[in-house]
Amino acid sequence: MIRKKVDTVHEALEGIQSGMTLMLGGFGLCGIPENLIRALAESSHKDFCCISANAGVDDFGLGLLFGAQKVKKMIGSYVGENEEFERQMLAKEIEVILTPMGTLAEKCRAAQMGIPAFFTPAGYGTEVAEGKEIRKFNGKNYLLEMAYASDFSLVKAWKGDESGNLIFRGTARNFNPLMCGASTITVAEVEELVPTGSLDPNQIHTPGIFVDRIFQGSRYEKRIERRTVQNT
């Protein structure tokens, strides 16, 4: 039995240094590694390059890292909803690279799967294609996109076991499984950490081989960005 469990968020982040590239799971505020983000915001490290679909909101999610001036470069797809982020972007305090969301997902997956680059049609004929190799397959044009190179993947799952096997819930899955094993070190925080053997192997979404460290998170807020209900 291979053990991946660590006891604290600080142990989970051991080795992290200023200037590193980090992948962070989540879509909006859904499925984000809340404990790891909090710990990074409170740490002495800074100048991170963050790869994440979105930029959080001012006082939650990735927004905590922008609020604490921890980010030098942001690679994302849709970065609205965060005023401090917008201020830093307009003041050119951070560099921002916007990427089609499917391309962003696949650049993570390619890194995970040992594929150095891939062709995708997304962005052909637009400014996203500038400087990229174009190749035609079956009469259609595709861009060559490279896998990401990253130091730490920080992901969140619903349940996990001490061997690092992960199960996600609902749309909180999103980018999290793709980032596991896509960086030098992958850290997973889970709402419920169970002993190895407690999870049905048939139900595992991400096998523990892609996870280096796992810990039980605490104080999950799981904030809703746009609470929408039926008219009654």
Partner: protein
């Protein structure tokens, strides 16, 4: 008098066929879900990782782990599934989605679309729009015929940065239903009370005007 945004959505809903998997963008396209015709069985996909979106939750039953791409709380319909973002865009890139409906700032007469960036204004990002327009064979644009300044959004060439090229097949505006053809924007239907002169006045790109143009039924 043209169509309201809800009427545009209702007209687009007439394009839905049983068995369709459909991706709806943010804005007017989202409203299409409210007008699925009786007896038509479809599944809505959201690129953050759900196929089979049901109604919004009842008050008190919101689940933070269940949202759509607009970050609104949702519920699953019977037969729904969840998946990661790579699978989600694989459904899109692999042409498994039957219909994509999205908004636009401009559409050109070649079917180019611009809907993500206005130079000198704050840019939030393209999200999944570039992936969707690059791979869908059936793209309907839902938009007003003119922008808030009164300028035509149907143009010879887009003036704004592009989201994708030669991809839009049909456009439903407050004034008309138009198809993108090799010769230009072909008027298929016009809104009740809207005459051809008005559509001509507010269309900057090349128009093709058949002899008979039926009214939009909504």
């Amino acid at each position: 008098m043209g169509l309201t945004k809800n009427q545009i959505a209702k007209r687009i809903a007439q394009e839905l066929q049983s068995g369709y998997y459909v991706n709806l963008g943010i804005g007017i396209p989202t409203l299409v879900a409210n007008y699925v015709p009786e007896g038509i069985e479809i599944a809505f996909q959201s690129e953050n990782g759900i196929l089979g979106i049901g109604p919004f939750p009842m008050p008190g039953e919101e689940d933070p782990d269940l949202i759509n791409a607009g970050k609104q709380t949702i519920t699953p319909q019977l037969g729904a599934s969840y998946f990661d973002s790579s699978i989600s865009f694989g459904m899109i890139r692999g042409k498994h989605i039957d219909l994509t409906v999205l908004g636009a700032m401009e559409v050109s007469e070649q079917g180019d679309i611009a809907n993500w960036k206005i130079p000198e204004k704050l840019v939030k990002g393209m999200g999944g729009a570039m992936d969707l327009v690059a791979s869908s064979d059936n793209i309907i644009v839902a938009m007003m015929h003119t922008n808030p300044k009164g300028e035509s959004k149907l143009r010879t060439e887009c003036t704004l940065p592009l989201t994708g090229v030669r991809c839009v097949k049909r456009i439903v505006t407050d004034l008309a239903v138009l198809d993108v053809t090799k010769e230009g924007f072909l008027i298929k239907e016009r809104a009740k009370g809207v005459d051809i002169e008005e559509i001509k006045r507010f269309t900057q790109g090349k128009l093709i005007i058949p002899d008979e143009i039926p009214e939009i039924q909504v």
